[in-house]
Amino acid sequence: MKHIISPTDLSVSELNELLDLSEEIIQDPKKFSDVCRGMKLATLFYEPSTRTRLSFEAAMLNLGGSILGFASADSSSAAKGESVADTIRVISSYADICAIRHPKEGAPLVASHFSSIPVINAGDGGHNHPTQTFTDLLTIKNLKGRLNNLTVGFCGDLKFGRTVHSLINALARYQNINFILISPEELRIPTYIREETLKANKLPFEETRNLEEAMPKLDILYMTRVQRERFFNEEDYIRLKDIYILDGRKMANAKEDMLVLHPLPRVNEISTEVDDDPRAVYFKQAQFGVYVRMALIMKLLEVK
């Protein structure tokens, strides 16, 4: 039995298999509409999330399975003080696989230690969000045709943005990736990503505050939202929340085949005028999220 807690819990070859299966599903989703009949996915969401939870649930329903779970800590026994360990022990007897989102970092790892069913981390605080990373990789692979030889810009909240950390760690395993990290000083990537992923693997990267200057170099622009819930100080959030806004003027400096990704939800950081640009693929990316979660559920449940 395998758990997915970090995006690097899958080797590169396992990841390639997952992406290949996702591509098969994209080609003919109906072929897979019954492969999980009689199986149940539990979605344990201790933190509000519309997109990720519905994406997991849609994925399981698309495979012919059923779903159960809760959408906030208030509506679970966590409100009564139950530990993650006890909750997962019980849920293990109700479902075949579970996806867990928790505001505290490491909660899904704790769950995996006490679970008798596969655990998928659906986001833990500012830490990891592996299925978003798989979604991002599938989007790039499907639309660019490759996961090598890319200049990838990350823009916005690189400090608390778990999707950024996870995607950098995942892309670090592919060849000839050049990273451009665009953020204000206060939201630069954590030291451990800089030292232990980028520098330790001798990966080319630059850090800048200037989005305009970076635009022409990019094959991929990964925009992120400055997340209110990650700040202890409201003043800092207000000062930084609108620091980058991608608009048509900035897009004019980008390559014709550049892709703009965003893990969503978007607030102000991408102007709605960009939505009609064919390079804006963030809504397509959300759709790919369902396909890659279908593939992941199939892999973890070992169904063909």
Partner: protein, 142 residues
């Protein structure tokens, strides 16, 4: 230099980062052990500028010296018998330590679930960096 008498039998934990002696005193539970202890704070050091030292007179058979390396990777340990140093040790850093270091990240699951083992793994041997197994935050020795 403050003068503390030499030991006949015991250990000297030397080159402790300034301010770290009480943490080691506390971890070793020296308060409840039947040994004589001298804590020297802010001692002059050629190597470190200033350092703390703990001298323990008596036997401590159950002492895991390598664990001390996780608390402070620079420390050295002198074993004294019959008034002379018979062994000098640099603790080897263990790959994993459980319930020795405590994660200080307020976003970590260990901050809200007190029953969990505080588990750390060594990720950078040269610099003695340990990271929490759950949230991956490095242990802050300050």
């Amino acid at each position: 230099m403050l003068n503390i008498g030499g030991l006949n039998q015991g250990i000297v934990i030397d080159h402790i980062k300034v301010g770290g002696a009480m943490k080691i005193y506390s971890y070793l539970d020296l308060e409840n052990k039947d040994v004589s202890v001298a804590i020297i704070k802010n001692a002059r050091s050629n190597k470190m500028g200033k350092k703390d030292i703990i001298k323990i007179e008596g036997t401590m058979d159950d002492l895991d010296l390598d664990i001390l390396g996780a608390l402070d990777h620079q420390i050295t340990i002198n074993i004294i018998e019959n008034g002379v140093i018979i062994d000098k040790k640099n603790p080897k850093l263990p790959d994993h330590v459980n319930n020795v270091l405590k994660c200080k990240n307020p976003r970590c699951i260990t901050s809200v679930e007190p029953g969990l083992t505080h588990s750390f793994k060594l990720t950078d041997r040269a610099n003695g960096i340990y990271r929490c197994e759950y949230c991956e935050q490095s242990f802050d020795r300050r």
